[in-house]
Amino acid sequence: MMNLKQYKNSLGKLQSLIALFILCIVFGLLSDKFFTVANGLNVMRQISVNICIAVGMTLIILTAGIDLSVGSILALCGAITAGLLKNGIAIASANLFIGFTILGAILAGILIGALLGFFNGFVITKFKVPPFVATLAMLTIARGLTMLYTNGFPISSFSSSFTFIGGGWWFGLPVPVWVAAVVVVAAIIVTKKIKLGRYIYAIGGNENAAKLSGININRVKIIVYTIAGALAALGGIIVTARLDSAQPNAGASYELDAIAAVVIGGTSLSGGRGSIWGTVLGALIIGVLNNGLVLLDVSPFWQQVVKGGVILLAVIIDKMNTKSE
């Protein structure tokens, strides 16, 4: 009896992997361009930004929260990094000019992202604003700030050492893939190996019990939203470097792709259940699906329909599994 249950449990964990496997086989059979090294690397490069964002989103969703602002934070921080690189900070009245190195501009961008995330967490915990509403407001605020900062125009063309972050190669893999890998490994350690991770699961599982166990739940939530903001900024920097341009409308609806990856990966929107590893698989499934449909020349309109269907299917299967337990 126990064996059967264990078997079923591990099957539940493997189901996204199996789905990914089946998708790959189907696309491989339908298109001879699918199973090539170049295409594989292409898919990985494409999903690396989504993985960065979705990892932060996973942490938030595990606490039973949500963050709709990551797409806008991505755009703002990408633009700020680009602006600092290009123009620095010039204050004419004081005759002051501060130039930025690449590292400096990147750190400043990530810091701004972290600050915006911190602000989300602060509003949510201090004023008890529901995460959906607080981050919806931030979505608009950050997009508006991006427009103000850029005047609505892209900021383009940087040195090759900066674009390396988006388009370069290192040890046979695209640089963004390395960045995403580091983010994923760090997040797995956070969720599985340190106190913060345990608290995240406990808060999502039962916030009252976590609070009465003496856990400072507000602090944990603020940390989680701050991390998500910083990771969105990181995504923004990769996107900017990849395109050699910071677009004011970058990252629009990226939050939905991130949430989709988290959900397809089996993390429960009500919190307390799920994993980073699942999210990586979820992002891979979305990435492979996008790529395969493009290779098969499916119309982009149909691609959206299919993606939506897959999200629904993933959640329905997940619900059926948890019900039978």
Binding site: K193, A202, A209, A210, S213
Partner: protein
């Protein structure tokens, strides 16, 4: 009214019910008695149509029935009052009572007048003195329980199942409930009554059915039974009632509360100038009726109402400022909340993770959680407290109430707290587990801890406490030593106000 033939219900890995045969008569109150896990709830869920796949046959009003769901059972005339409250907080009393069976007027719109009138009538029979348009969220737990009962009455069912209907209501409300049950009995309805409170059963029940390990052990007329006999049948062996024995408490002051107040908007203080001490090795029992402020006192001490409260807390003579639970825990005060499922445990987490949650520092190696240390810690407490679980990786949800309560206790013990705040520590757990809990409490105070125990069971307060504080309307109305305390003087102090 209802008989069953060889009802068997299997869950993966366990047989919850095995060949259960029982008979429930019209015009009688039948008590179903059994320890937690004996199969009472499963049986009730089958009778009320929650579980639809089972073996065996149910006969209701002499006809074989197999309900396809709860609605079918209701239509046939079976109503159930669940142990957990199933009300919708932001709907009014009337809307809750009529949920799913709304009355319509000639235009097919909701007939609010008629519903309001009927709701008022039901509230009157139950002696609930609030307007039917009050939101359920604004009611006390006891009143909410009465609304559940009103819902069942509305259905005018022939068989009413009551699962622990008195677990959250005051003695006065229990009396009202018994009056209503008597009326129903005279109308020829059948009542199935489930309760851990044996004294109640002797007062209200005509017949009893004892379940043990999913089997019917015995049934008969309540009159022929004695208290001890019943316990023996339930447990399958003799259980000694907890003896009143005191490890004479030290006179070293451990905790002192000074003028604790808890303010409420537009109302009298929820707590007013509460001052008392707890000595090392002492169990202080707090008794009071529903709404007396007992739970709020524990919560305030634990730092859950920092903005609205005032007063000072001293531990070992030192003034401690407590603004959040984390401060209290750090100072050595821990709380076992009244509702362990809602506030005490992360039910979806493994047993070991619940135990280690407040003391993760103890299982860290260089800032990383150490799985081996965590397992050792969990196993230690599982063994010490005698927690019955297949292993430490079991999901907490799957354990019985008594074992869950022990986990809530276990999770604090690693921190070596000085003061335990226990809010209804034995609510909803069976006699055996209760006695074990009392024994654990004695052991802990033996080590010098202090315990403040809130309970609405008078006998429990009387047996366990060294000293009893009685609360009414947010004030302490009496302090009675264990030797002088009787049911009489404690109850009087709880009721006497002004």
């Amino acid at each position: 009214m209802l008989t069953t033939e060889n009802i068997t219900k299997k869950f993966p890995g366990v047989i919850a019910l095995e060949n259960v045969n029982l008979q429930i008569d019209a015009g009688k109150v039948t008590a179903i008695i059994g320890e937690n896990g004996a199969g009472k709830s499963t049986l009730m869920k089958i009778l009320s149509g929650v579980y639809t796949d089972y073996e065996g046959q149910i006969f209701f009003k002499d006809k074989p029935v197999h309900f396809s769901g709860t609605a079918a059972a209701q239509d046939a005339g079976i109503a159930i009052i669940h142990q957990e409250l199933n009300l919708i907080p932001y709907l009014s009393i009337t809307e809750n009572i009529f949920l799913g069976s709304e009355l319509l007027n000639a235009f097919g719109l909701l007939d609010k007048k008629r519903m309001q009138a009927k709701a008022e009538e039901l509230l009157n029979t139950l002696c609930v003195t609030v307007h039917p348009s009050t939101l359920v969220a604004d009611l006390k737990v006891g009143q909410q329980q009465m609304i559940e009962i009103a819902k069942a009455l509305l259905l005018d069912a022939d068989l009413i199942i009551m699962d622990e209907p008195t677990s959250a209501i005051t003695e006065a409300e229990v009396e009202t409930l018994f009056k209503v049950i008597n009326q129903l009995r005279q109308q020829g309805k059948a009542i199935v009554y489930i309760s851990h409170k044996l004294n109640e059963l002797f007062k209200i029940a005509d017949n009893y059915i004892v379940l043990r390990d999913g089997k019917t052990i015995e049934s008969g007329a309540m009159q022929t039974m004695t208290h001890d006999e019943l316990i023996r049948k339930m447990v399958g062996r003799d259980v000694k009632q907890m003896q009143k024995e005191f490890s004479n408490a030290d006179s070293t002051e451990l905790l002192r509360l000074d003028k604790i107040c808890l303010r409420q908007k537009h109302k009298a203080d929820k707590l007013h100038n509460i001052s008392f001490t707890v000595n090392e090795g002492e169990i202080v029992g707090i008794f009071g009726l529903m709404g007396a402020g007992r739970t709020e006192l524990l919560e305030t001490t634990f730092g859950l109402h920092p903005a609205a409260s005032s007063g000072s807390i001293f531990i070992n003579g030192k003034n401690i400022s407590i603004n959040k639970p984390a401060d209290a825990v750090k100072a050595g005060i821990v709380l076992l909340p009244e509702d362990r499922k809602k506030d005490g445990l992360v039910l979806g987490m493994e047993v070991k993770k619940n135990i280690s949650l407040p003391c993760l520092e103890a299982v860290e190696t260089m800032g990383f959680l150490n799985d081996k240390k965590e397992i050792v810690l969990a196993k230690k407490h599982i063994q010490q407290l005698g927690i019955k679980t297949p292993d430490e990786k079991q999901i907490t949800k799957n354990l019985s109430g008594g074992n869950q309560q022990k986990i809530v206790l276990a999770k604090w013990l690693e921190r070596n707290p000085k003061i335990l705040l226990l809010d209804e520590p034995t609510r909803g757990i069976d006699v055996n587990a209760k006695n074990e809990m009392y024994k654990l409490m004695q052991e802990l105070v033996g080590k010098g801890m202090g315990i403040i125990m809130v309970s609405s069971e008078l006998t429990e307060v009387l047996t366990v406490s060294n000293r009893i504080l009685v609360m009414a309307e947010g004030k302490i109305t009496a302090e009675i030593s264990a030797t002088e305390a009787t049911e009489d003087n404690v109850l009087k102090a709880a009721i006497a106000v002004n």
